[in-house]
Each structure stands twice: as structure tokens, then as C-alpha cells.
Amino acid sequence: MSRVVVDVMPKPEILDPQGKAVLGALPRLGFSGVADVRQGKRFELEVEGEVTDEVLAEVARMAETLLSNPVIENFTVRVEESAEVQA
């Protein structure tokens, strides 16, 4: 099994009220120095077999069909190396 990660973010020109809420909360909690926050979504797809270019192209089709709304969101697709262990 391999993990393919799809990150979905609101397009830069689209207002992100959730990101703004987080941005507003940070200084109230004593955190400073953050100029902006954008909130998106991360999808982790456990893919059977080798991650070939065809598989990545198929995941990109999944991303533009279901995982994102291309009207308001951009996405990126990448393979997460199996050596990476979550802390």
C-alpha cells in the first residue's frame, strides 16, 4: 500500500472565513507574528500497488471530480514516502 495525499485549498481570491477565525484566535491565545491563515483539507488515500503516473492521474481525476470544487478550490497531489513515520 502506498499513501497518496491530496491537499485542497480555497483559491487565493476566495474568502476563507474559517482561516480568518483561526487568525483572529491566535493573538487572543498569546501567539504573535502570524500575518494570515488559510484553512484547507488534506485527504490521505491508501492506494493498492505501485503509485504509477497513471495512478496519480486517476487520483487527480478524483480530486477534480469529488475531493475539490474547482470553482472555489485548488488541489495538489503527491505521494507520501513510506519511510515517513508519523510522530
Partner: protein, 222 residues
């Protein structure tokens, strides 16, 4: 006329919409999200609520339900389709309508009597209104901010596809105060406010919404 009202898991206003259809002088036909069957109806209403729990994005899962395959196909043939609130979100996710609906700019759920201006009256859902007529109906949404790129907005305005606009107060950050839009042909209409909640004096805020449910008859008789 026989007007189908789709119930999705999480729909809230399907029964109100059925009732509004009947008060408008039509037969309400319940439709189920899981069936590839429109039961021969003449038109379809997608009601408000939180279909599929608003998971992923509002309307994103509903769009791929079996009944929506039939709705999309019928809409392409010209069948009248009205999406209210969550129904509007589903129509945008289905690409039957341009644009998208995002979280209210002020981040709070809004519930209020909302003043609107009806701007397009040559649709099967709005022909009972006069162009420019001002009405008040309930608005209740958390993700009602209508957005589209400038080129799309310009096209919508230029082609007269803005069906209704917010008056006096923009309640959710919708660009250009847009409360409802149609497709080019005009048979598919999406509206964020709830005309189905404004069809009887008994329940307050007047009967200004009734026109959305009487227009179909008038469109046929005209």
C-alpha cells in the same frame, strides 16, 4: 402539475416544500435520493437542509446520488428544477448552475426575514412575479455566500441570469448581493432564501414566497 420534491438523508425542508407545492395548486410527489426514478414528474424541487451532513462540501455528496443523475439529465432536456438553500448548493456542485456557495463572511448562521428583489421573471419558477417586485421571505443559512469569478458574474448580469438579489442588507457576503441565479435557459433556478416558508399567513412573514410555487401553473397556462 406534478412536482417532485427530493428527500436526501439530512433534508430538512422537504415536507415544507411539498406543502408549498400543494398550496401553490400542484401535486407534490415525494422522490427519494437513492432511486433512479423521477416518477414522471413535470418539475423537481431540491429542498433545504443538510444533505449527507454537509460532509466534504455542502451538496458535494448529494450531487452523485442516483436521483441527481436523473435530475441532471431531465434539466438538460428543459425540465424545471428549483433548488432552495441546500438545493441551490447541490445545483452548483452539479454544475447545473455556475458559481459556488461558501461560508457566510461573518461566520455566523443567519436566520432572518430577508427583503429580496425578483430580477428574472421569465423562468418557470418566477413568472408569477413582476420584474423588480420586492418580496420578503425567510433566509436561514450558514454557507450562503454566493461566489463566482468576475467574468462569470459579468456574464450572469449581462445575460439576465440573476433571479433574485438581496435588498437593504447583504446577509452572507454574497457577491453583487446575489440571492438566486438561473441557468441560461432559465429552467434551472437556485435560491438561497426559503420561499417555501412564506406561503401561509398562519406561520408568519407573509405569503410572498408563494409565487415560486404558482408560477409553474401560470407558465403553462400562459
Amino acid at each position: 402539475m406534478r412536482i417532485g420534491v427530493v428527500t436526501f438523508p439530512g433534508s430538512l425542508d422537504d415536507v415544507d416544500a411539498q406543502r408549498a407545492v400543494r398550496i401553490g395548486g400542484n401535486e407534490a410527489v415525494p422522490l427519494w435520493h437513492g432511486e433512479h426514478d423521477l416518477k414522471g414528474v413535470d418539475a423537481v424541487v431540491l429542498p433545504g437542509g443538510f444533505s449527507y451532513g454537509d460532509y466534504l462540501r455542502c451538496g458535494a455528496i448529494s450531487r452523485f446520488s442516483p436521483v441527481m443523475a436523473e435530475v441532471v439529465e431531465a434539466a438538460g432536456r428543459g425540465m424545471p428544477v428549483l433548488g432552495i438553500c441546500n438545493g441551490f448548493q447541490i445545483l452548483c456542485e452539479s454544475h447545473l448552475l455556475p458559481g459556488a456557495l461558501i461560508r457566510n463572511d461573518h461566520r455566523k448562521f443567519v436566520c432572518r426575514d430577508q427583503r429580496l428583489r425578483i430580477e428574472r421573471t421569465d423562468t418557470p419558477w418566477t413568472s408569477a412575479y413582476a420584474a423588480g417586485q420586492e418580496i420578503t421571505v425567510v433566509l436561514k443559512n450558514g454557507e450562503g455566500g454566493y461566489v463566482a469569478d468576475d467574468a462569470t458574474l459579468d456574464r450572469l448580469e449581462g445575460e439576465g441570469q440573476v433571479v433574485a438579489r438581496y435588498l437593504e442588507h447583504n446577509p452572507n457576503g454574497s457577491l453583487r448581493d446575489i440571492a438566486g441565479v438561473s441557468n441560461e435557459r432559465g429552467n434551472v433556478v437556485g435560491l438561497m432564501p426559503h420561499p417555501e416558508h412564506a406561503v401561509e399567513d398562519l406561520t408568519g412573514s407573509g405569503t410572498d414566497g408563494l409565487g415560486f410555487f404558482t408560477s409553474l401553473v401560470e407558465a403553462v397556462l400562459a
